[in-house]
């Protein structure tokens, strides 16, 4: 077409000379996926910290309704003047806690943080397919964080209609203080977040499908990449529904339309609206909302699979089935949203259909669990911090999945809906599982990201406190649910049906939550301290196979130097019989051409016991 090919060779040699040089293009408006990953990760962790502090405040209210803690005023200048958390403040805190944790922490860090760092490195690309879009994605996310943070400080307070923002509460400025400007900013920040997430997801999927290094077939991609891109596809096809809902809700709020608002009387005053349906919002919201919870779990599943195989020194059990079940879960997650609406007065037959689709999700979920256990089975397990967190993930995923089966039956959900049983269910299965996946991932890839090792000892202390403390919080909550304690109440003092023992449980929960919170400071110190003055990390500290460990530490701009890696095998060749080391990196050639399958590759290596090992000599 235009110019001759010589330029290509030059580009390769020049690779190192064209790094962005100025501070601004290198660290701020960077288009390097690794820098963007760090930006996403740090911003998300800061947001998560804010969300955690919020939870302490409302947990104190729940355990000690008579508290008088004036020193907390510095955290809550309004709504805590007297030293006691006021009702509107309570609702703002629970709403913003949920919003921040689900969108601004978990979604952002799993796709924006891990997705950005891992996809190019694990498929053997130099960067994302669309680096500029990638940069825009971060800055839209950043803007959405700024807007949501500002909303905490407006005079009428932040949104307080729950993270689900059901109208009419969220549609009428006079409904609660938080339904004023706070709710508007909530909607705007979510819309910005959706734009950011869409730009990111386009990149993740395209990069993984189209920028793989030579030999990196789809069936040789690490499960992390699969988990993240399937989640990205979910985001692409689910988020627009919430975007549409947000637009309509803003119009209802400001232009007087009646999309979600029926005729209402509020405080004796007639609201001049007609015929709108609050349930319409619920459909739009949960069409996103359910896939959203899987956006948070699928990448964590991928991370867990990766680390379990590495820590057990065994190939992942049933790789293809793992991929298939990720895809199956993703597909099913689009047709189950009605299970959040069993008590909305839906036709029982429709409810029945949603029960069936919901319960079918248990099948691929159980398959995955079986395969994780199969991977651990008779493994030569190394109980490193990432491995502990990965095992913790299995535990919480099973616990929370089982309570899902209760809720998925509409007959059981009708009494359990909107009780603490639901709060327990989703915190264990979504909150804890994704957080454990994230911690596993941070401890595991920190050396590659920063070039330093994190302290294993403090990592383990962090794990055990977090693990036991979290169960203290959420296991206990199930009992409150059985008692019929409704969620989202400021005070539970005037309900005859709640026995006094409820208070004991509330205190156990809050104390556990404060212990877990304190444990996170161990993490923060470990993270920052190791980054600043940790032990220098070798290239491949976990003796892992996937490509990122074959790159220099930390990987330079362009990741691979002049020559891209070439892939010869899947990433789970651990303890291959006959190999000289118990791991065989993906870049090591298989000398005898295998007949296609990974397992036959292993056999071929076995048959020629001398072939292995040389490729990874420098790791020994």
């Amino acid at each position: 077409m235009e110019t001759p090919n010589i330029a290509h060779a030059e580009a390769a040699v020049e690779a190192h000379h064209h790094e962005p040089q100025s501070f601004w293009t290198k660290y701020v408006f960077s288009q390097d996926h690794k820098v963007i990953a760090m930006q996403y990760m740090i911003t998300a962790l800061v947001m998560g910290f804010i969300g955690m502090v919020m939870s302490w405040l409302f947990r104190i209210q729940l355990a000690w309704p008579d508290h008088n803690l004036p020193f907390l005023r510095f955290l809550m200048p309004t709504n805590m003047e007297s030293g006691t958390l006021q009702t509107p403040g309570y609702y703002m805190l629970v709403t913003m806690h949920g919003t921040i944790m689900i969108f601004f922490l978990l979604t952002a860090i799993l796709t924006g943080g891990f997705g950005n760092f891992l996809i190019p490195l694990q498929v053997g690309a130099r960067d994302m397919a669309f680096p500029f879009l990638n940069m825009l994605s971060y800055w839209f996310y950043f803007l959405s964080c700024v807007v949501v943070t500002i909303s905490l400080f407006v005079s009428t307070g932040a949104a307080s209609g729950g993270w689900t923002s059901y109208p009419p509460l969220s549609a009428l400025a006079k409904a609660t203080p938080g339904s004023g400007l706070g709710q508007d900013l909530w909607l705007v920040s979510i819309a910005l977040f959706i734009v950011a997430s869409t730009m990111g997801s386009l990149n993740y999927v395209t990069t993984a499908l189209n920028m793989r290094a030579k030999g990196m077939t789809l069936m040789r991609m690490p499960l992390t990449v699969w988990g993240i891109i399937v989640a990205a596809v979910l985001g692409l096809f689910a988020f627009p529904a919430l975007f549409a809902g947000a637009v309509l809700l803003l119009l209802d709020r400001h232009l007087g339309t009646s999309f979600f608002l029926p005729h209402l009387v509020l405080g004796g005053e007639h609201i001049v609206r007609d015929g709108g349906s609050p349930l319409l919002w619920q459909h739009l919201f949960w069409f996103l909302g359910h896939p959203e919870v899987y956006i948070l779990i699928l990448p964590a599943m991928g991370i867990t699979s990766e680390i379990l195989s590495n820590g057990a020194r065994k190939p992942i059990f049933g790789y293809k089935v793992m991929v298939a079940s990720l895809v199956a879960i993703a597909f099913l997650s689009f047709i189950v949203w009605g299970h959040h609406m069993f008590v909305s007065g839906m036709n029982p037959w429709l409810g029945f259909a949603f029960v069936i689709t919901t319960l079918i999700i248990a099948i691929p979920s159980a398959i995955k669990t079986f395969n994780w256990l199969g991977t651990l089975w008779k493994g030569n397990i190394r109980f490193t911090t990432p491995m502990l967190y990965a095992i913790g993930f299995i535990s919480t995923f099973v616990t929370g999945g089982l309570t899902g089966l209760f809720l998925g039956n509409s007959a059981l959900d009708i009494p359990l809906h909107d009780t603490y049983f639901v709060v327990a269910h989703f915190h264990v299965v979504m909150g804890l599982s994704s957080v454990f996946g994230i911690f596993a991932g941070i401890y595991y890839w920190f050396p590659k990201m920063t070039g330093k090792m994190m302290s294993e000892r403090w990592g383990k202390v962090h794990f055990w406190l977090t693990f036991i403390g979290s169960y203290g919080v959420f296991w206990t909550m199930h009992y409150l649910g059985f008692m019929g304690m409704p969620r989202r109440y400021y005070s539970y003092d005037s309900y005859q049906f709640l026995p006094p023992s409820m208070h004991t449980l509330q205190m156990i929960i809050t104390i556990s939550a404060l212990i877990v919170g304190a444990a996170q400071f161990i993490f923060i110190v470990n993270f920052l301290g190791s980054w600043l003055r940790g032990k220098k990390a070798p290239d491949n500290p976990w003796q892992a196979n996937s490509l990122e460990w074959q790159a220099p530490t930390p990987p330079p701009h362009g990741n691979w130097g002049p020559k891209l890696p070439e892939v010869h095998r899947w990433p789970y060749d651990y303890s291959v019989p006959g190999a000289s080391a118990d791991f065989v990196p993906q870049t090591v050639p298989v000398e005898v051409e295998p007949s296609g399958e990974h397992h036959s590759a292993a056999v071929a290596v076995n048959g020629h016991g001398h072939t292995n090992g040389h490729g990874n000599g420098h790791h020994a």
């Binding site: 293009t25 288009q31 499908l209 920028m211 030579k214 549409a244 339309t257």
Partner: protein, 212 residues
């Protein structure tokens, strides 16, 4: 976007993109594993998938909200003018693409035609809204009019985006971008426009259906 790439990252080889159209990061001898579709196409299609869900969500919200109630007003005649303009726009872009493929410089003129047609569409849309307003049908009058304004306004926003894409193509011509890059820019633009035009046909069909 192009300029930023040049400025900040490893230089894109000045040559043509390799056969799969997305290999600018790759250098000699590297043979990336890719799908048969180039990245820019894949990205465009995924993005259009997202927009499809957006319009599907709004459309189904409409259908659910009216609950079988018939459309209470006649669609203004300018709706048909708008339809004709957008169909013509798709045709113009197809011709432009064909011209460019034959390296015929006059493809730029067809870009101009497409831009004029889409500006005409926007004017026709404003006329449509005015006709409705003159009949006393405003944003809040009834669910049909509310959704008519919302769907057409969200669609018009995408038409504006399409105009931006046309300007970007012209910019590529002006800075004498390579043939490959031009083709990519125009390919993306045309695909996007066909989508926007199809959405318009869908919206018209939806309101015709609810007036049955």
């Amino acid at each position: 976007m192009v300029t930023t790439l040049e400025k900040t990252s490893i230089r894109r080889p000045i040559g043509p993109p390799p056969h799969n159209g997305n290999g600018w990061w790759w250098s000699d001898g590297d043979d990336p594993q890719a799908l048969a579709v180039p990245s820019w196409k894949l990205g465009t299609w995924l993005g259009l998938g997202t927009l499809t869900v957006l319009f599907a969500a709004l459309s189904s919200a409409y259908v659910v909200r009216i609950g079988g109630e018939r459309l209470a007003f006649a669609l203004p005649a300018t709706v048909w003018l708008s339809t004709a303009l957008l169909v013509a726009n798709s045709v113009a872009l197809t011709i432009a693409q064909r011209r460019l493929r034959r390296k015929d410089r006059r493809f730029v003129a067809w870009l101009g035609v497409a831009a004029l047609l889409s500006i005409g569409f926007l004017i026709s849309q404003v006329a449509t809204w005015q006709t409705l307003a003159a009949q006393g049908l405003f944003f809040t009058s009834n669910p049909h009019s509310s959704f008519f304004y919302v769907l057409t306004a969200v669609h018009a926003a995408h038409v504006l985006g399409g105009l931006g894409a046309l300007v970007r193509c012209v910019y590529h011509v002006r800075v004498r971008s390579s043939f490959g890059r031009l083709r990519r820019a125009l390919g993306m633009t045309a695909t996007y426009w066909h989508f926007v035009d199809a959405v318009w046909l869908w919206i018209v069909a939806l309101f015709l259906w609810t007036s049955l």
